[in-house]
């Protein structure tokens, strides 16, 4: 289904323009990090790409063949994981059921992915009594089990402590290694350096820069990006 192409995409709500004429193309392979200050429109941009929101102008285009019978080719992990009131395992098999995975295969696949994120021991515990870090790992497992071609992550570590953050970053790396395209938002510069292959830098609803990570941090092309990297972006 990749590349994902946005052409002049805008999104407005309540008379306010949140995304303003954004165009880019995301290819399979490199981990893309959408970077920018709070309120830059990162999360909204991600929801537009994932299809949770529809652009008010412009086009979003997925290339390549799209076989509707296959499991959905994209998944998303949110900043605050939404845990269904059932076991950790049940949360994963729920997603597989919606993806039309045969019943016989669901539990096997769910157990394997829970093991892969380090939750193998708590699969039968209710998801809602897990810690915040475990819940986010479970959300990653639920998305990974779908074997998506693209995984969107919206500030997945914003509410986590450093230990859980490291774990989540490791899992995101593993998911990438398994062949899934990663698209992730963050406002954390260190995380962007650790995880990104390329950076989409958003500022005030516009795409300010689209650059490989080394070049972005070494030689930011815009004043906004330079200020953000130095931690001096003005509040506006």
């Amino acid at each position: 289904m990749l590349p994902l192409i946005l052409e002049n995409v805008s999104f407005a709500a309540g008379g306010r323009t949140i995304i303003d004429g954004v165009s880019f193309e995301l290819a399979a392979g490199p981990r893309t990090v959408i970077l920018g200050p709070n309120g830059a429109g990162k999360s909204v941009l991600m929801r537009l790409c994932h299809g949770l929101l529809s652009p008010t102008a412009g086009r979003i285009d997925w290339r390549g063949t799209r076989d509707e019978r296959r499991p959905r080719a994209q998944a998303m992990v949110f900043q605050r994981p939404v845990m269904l009131r059932r076991s950790a395992l049940g949360n994963v098999t729920y997603g597989l059921k919606l993806a039309n995975v045969p019943k016989a295969e669901r539990e096997r696949r769910a157990r394997a992915v829970l093991d892969a994120v380090g939750l193998g021991a708590v699969g039968d515990r209710p998801a809602r009594v897990l810690s915040g870090g475990e819940q986010q790992k479970l959300a990653l497992a639920r998305a990974w089990a779908l074997e998506p071609e693209v995984l969107f992550l919206d500030e997945p570590t914003a509410n986590l402590d450093p230990g859980a953050t490291r774990e989540v970053e490791r899992i995101v790396g593993d998911i990438h290694s398994s062949g899934t395209k990663i698209v992730m938002t963050t406002h954390n510069l260190g995380q962007a350096r650790r995880l990104a292959d390329e950076i989409l830098f958003m500022s005030a609803g516009r795409l300010a820069e689209h650059a490989p990570v080394e070049r972005f941090f070494a030689q930011p092309a815009t004043a906004e990006a330079a200020a953000f990297i130095k931690g001096e972006l003005p509040w506006d």
Binding site: L52, L98, A99, V129, R142
Partner: protein, 234 residues
């Protein structure tokens, strides 16, 4: 005071003696109200879920109507059902007037707005939390509704209990459509009303005590199950 004291004593005697009339009345009451609540739940919960999830023209009007109907006076419902079921009414041929079925119909109508209105609130709050995740996973509206109903099941127990409380406590509707016929349509509330006006306080009090106890026990059981489940499943 002496009158009240002896009335209580006599009432306790009737309960302990397992008085047949008394227990017949209790049995019919519970059967009518529980059936009405079951039917109202089967209709009200999907209706509540629909209102919580779907946005459609006229939804606001429907919500206001539903909330207003939560306070529907039972006598008015009784009167309307009476008009429908009476011999000259559109459903007169069914011959349901003055039967337990008529009472079930009336109480069902009373309870549906309670179950639908309160569950809509519970489900809408849950939907606000779940919507993006469920849409991301590709849930259709009906799958989402089923998921929300299952995930809010403990809160919905309280909603159904509120409906049961309404049905078990009302007297106006069952009096009008049931007729308070001894041995056929006499339930606790209509019997209490009749015996009090006749001056037979012990029977009225005995029934009142059983009614209170029944409502108390059902609520307590539900509360215990709910809090145990919440502790266990979060």
């Amino acid at each position: 005071m002496g009158d009240i004291g002896s009335a209580f004593a006599e009432a306790a005697g009737l309960i302990l003696a397992a008085d047949r009339t008394l227990y017949g009345i209790v049995q019919l009451s519970l059967a009518v109200s529980m059936t009405a609540v079951a039917v109202a739940t089967a209709i009200g919960l999907p209706l509540g879920a629909l209102l919580a999830i779907r946005r459609f023209p006229g939804r606001q009007v429907l919500l206001v109507t539903l909330n207003a109907l939560m306070g529907l006076p039972p006598v008015v419902v009784g009167l309307l059902v009476y008009l429908m079921l009476s011999r000259a009414g559109p459903l007169g041929d069914l011959g349901l007037l003055f039967t337990p079925e008529a009472m079930i119909i009336a109480q069902t109508i009373l309870v549906i707005p309670i179950v639908a209105g309160l569950s809509r609130q519970v489900l809408e709050d849950a939907w606000r939390e779940y919507e993006e995740q469920l849409r991301s996973l590709g849930a259709t509206a009906s799958t989402a509704a089923a998921t929300l109903l299952w995930d809010t099941r403990y809160s919905l127990v309280t909603v159904v209990l509120a409906g049961f409380g309404r049905a078990a406590a009302e007297v106006g509707a069952v009096m009008i459509v049931g007729g308070n016929i001894d041995g056929v349509t006499r339930v606790m509330t209509t019997a209490i009303s009749l015996e009090t006006s006749k001056g037979d306080l012990p029977l009225a009090l005995g029934l009142g005590m059983i009614l209170l106890a029944a409502v108390f026990v059902i609520n307590a059981a539900a509360q215990i199950i709910k809090s145990a489940a919440v502790r266990r499943y979060g």
